[in-house]
Symmetry: none
Subunit: 333 residues, 3 copies
């Protein structure tokens, strides 16, 4: 019923690491996109409630040979089994060197999808059955189906684990909203020199600050200002950067978040981790109508937190005073 979902894509520098190998994650993303298209198409092939196929499980996937920048990825997908409520899709990925014509199998993946109603996301719909070329194919598919169903039940239980203990889960404390993000510096982040654009760093800093602010007040938050930022050290392509943010101060209607950028030149460089940039971001909380909302006061506990709160208050009052001076001529006119 449903046609194939094949595609070819050129692999670009941003899809790969610094040695030119395409990230496994890029390939997994292509595989899943092909699977989602073919299974959604199939599940809507008979008249009935419109639905989207949601990924339920990916079977163990091996990466058989590397894919490199400039290669063309050939992705082909096929539906190999359907149960009442799920679809099995097999996706093959070949890497093709279009200069030599050489093709190599990179992956063979099996994915399971479940059709969810577009009107009611919690409703699982029925899957139209496929035709099998041989009876054995259906029988083998049913075995794979039963196996994965069992495994899904088993692993569902194992998930209580936590990697990083949240230091302080009390609401409105510094520990409760602090956040960090790691980012692998890719080619598109960099100048001709191979150093990260300042703008890329600032965008990531703002992202972390925004998450800290939203975790604190659980509303729509927007950037109100950024303090002066000094770029002490260049960050090189291939680094992993860690951007961490913590709230330092709250006034009635604003939050100050301190953000640090640390760089790890982790491959083939003798250098240690270093602090590359730091800055203070001020955020405000907005209602649905776009009006500023009151901000819950930050709960400070340690001596360091108290000192940083006072420092933040100092910056806040100073900025406020400066603004009033600048505004006077305008408001008096």
């Amino acid at each position: 019923v449903a046609g194939p979902a094949d595609h070819c894509l050129i692999m670009r520098p941003d899809d790969a690491n610094i040695a030119g190998n395409v990230h496994g994650g890029t390939i997994l993303k292509m595989i899943e996109e092909a699977g989602a298209i073919i299974s959604t198409r199939h599940c809507n092939s008979q008249s009935g409630e419109p639905c989207v196929a949601a990924l339920a499980r990916v079977e163990r996937t091996d990466f058989l040979s590397p894919m490199c920048i400039g290669d063309v990825a050939n992705v082909s997908a096929e539906i190999t089994y359907t149960s009442k409520h799920s679809v099995e899709v097999q996706v093959n990925v070949l890497s093709e060197n279009i200069l030599t014509g050489a093709k190599r199998m990179t992956n063979r993946a099996t994915l399971w999808y479940v059709p969810l109603s577009l009107k009611n996301v919690d409703k699982v719909l029925e899957v139209p059955p496929i035709q099998y070329a041989w009876k054995e194919l259906e029988e083998e598919g049913r075995k794979r189906y039963e196996e994965q169903k069992l495994e899904r039940l088993v692993t569902k239980e194992r998930n209580g684990d936590i990697i990083f203990p949240v230091i302080n889960p009390e609401p409105y404390t510094v520990g409760c909203s602090q956040s960090s993000l790691i980012h692998l510096v890719g080619p598109s982040d960099c100048t001709l020199h191979g150093f990260v654009h300042g703008g890329v760093t600032m965008k990531l800093m703002d992202e972390v600050a925004g998450i800290v602010a939203a975790r604190h007040c659980k509303t729509n938050v927007v950037t109100a200002s950024v303090d002066a930022i000094n770029f002490h050290e260049k960050i090189k392509k291939g680094c992993v950067i860690t951007i961490s943010g913590r709230m330092t101060f709250t006034s009635n209607k604003s939050m100050e978040i301190e953000v640090f950028v640390d760089a790890d030149p982790f491959v083939d460089e003798p250098k240690e981790r270093y602090r590359a940039v730091s800055a203070f971001f001020t955020y405000v909380s907005l209602s649905k109508e776009g009006k500023p909302l009151p901000v819950p006061q930050l709960v400070v506990e340690s001596e360091d937190e108290k000192r940083r709160f006072e420092d933040g208050k100092g910056r806040y009052l100073q900025t406020k005073a400066k603004r009033q001076v600048q505004m006077q001529p305008l408001t008096q006119q």
Copy 2:
């Protein structure tokens, strides 16, 4: 000498948060791109060594009015001062509603750039002087230059702080390589339903696993396989997801990394943080010639770490056995 660097850009869904407000970070990135272009162009306007202008400092920047999806950002940049080795650029950003024609000032930013030689990244070159319309403009620029120079010296010292205590900095321990990443789920990550594509999640999981592996063995690493992944819970647009990875097991030539995805439905949802996905990734370390390298053994300390190492060994041996069985028919033919 150098002309203006004006441009217009349409703001897209991925540039904004779930309420439609463009991220401050997106605006900062545009500002810096305009500044980098005009200052690099200026520094190369006289014959001499080719160079790239590197961002040294951004002055305090206020966000005067919000920008929304569908608005056109008008960015204009101008060089306002040059010292012997640095360039001051002023960038204005207007948000334009192209349906009504209304324009509003969003930002006025001041950035400082330093020209670095393309041949020798550590060499700062000289900046061609600009012409001033009035003598006072040069004088005021010099004052701003002196002020920021002083501030840069002062803040350089303040940077010893660390946000998250690294639990165990000993090489080859679990704590030494564990990593996590937060990601704000944007529209382009999602299906028609407003749920994250499975492929997007897998790409981020692989990214974290790759950083853990690289931190452990400090070489070029590539994905070798991914164990079966079950998608227990859907992840909704607007969530913040935390992807955390830790090494569980090493064999002679491979590393097993466990990756968790936790979702925080942080705005306007009563739901708690929940575990959405987890999986095991296997990575190998490659030499510059693409050959597998030996992997340093993981140092396990706590009882939990030892148990997880044994579990990982079990999975490793099981996979190895399975593969030998599958290979037999082929090698015997």
Copy 3:
């Protein structure tokens, strides 16, 4: 000899404007990627010097029906003619609603590629000949080849024009809607050669044309067609490109926008700014129900503007006449 270059891709929010219509530029970019893959693959299919197929020309392309967020784009490419040094590729794009299964032809495009040696970028290599199913196909291809060759020679001269500065902010004047965008060419924009993909350039050209059109009529606008585009000069990684657009002509229900691409090889190259590409885009204005709306007439003031308006009217009438001729057999059936 060369296999197909088909692919399916889900259209995402960032591919579309605020009304949900996929940008013409996104579609042009997919078309060019498919064309580049199939022609590069073909030109390397016989042993010989490795090469990359560079885009030389795109024939006039009509957008027959809109594509929306959530649709799957089905792109298929086929080599239809080869001369000694160039390859003609035809690319078809269908938009598929995977919920209903409905498919509609969106575009049928013709592109010309030239194989450049990977070792020496200025060397054009020979193209392996293809087999034709009928002799007439070869003859018809030769005619198309001669026609486009002639047109390429003619248009190469027309390119002395400059858009800036904005003189007149009166509504519906040329100055009121003209717009420009600057872009720093990064690694992911480029081919293996380090030259910008033609599709990347076309996407940016369409973006500027769309802003010009929206500024003029302040409604939802979509690309209706693109005139033949000649790629006179390659654009190298590290360039800054300026893409400028101005309205040249309006009919009752369409707008013609002229777009220029100028490249500044601003670092380490003695070359001056040069005109790389130029083209005419036609846009239509749509109501919320997707019906074409009347377009406010363009106010032309200077002699140049009047001349360009008349030229645009000539192109408009010519296209209209051509289309009526092509349609006749169909409507008479």
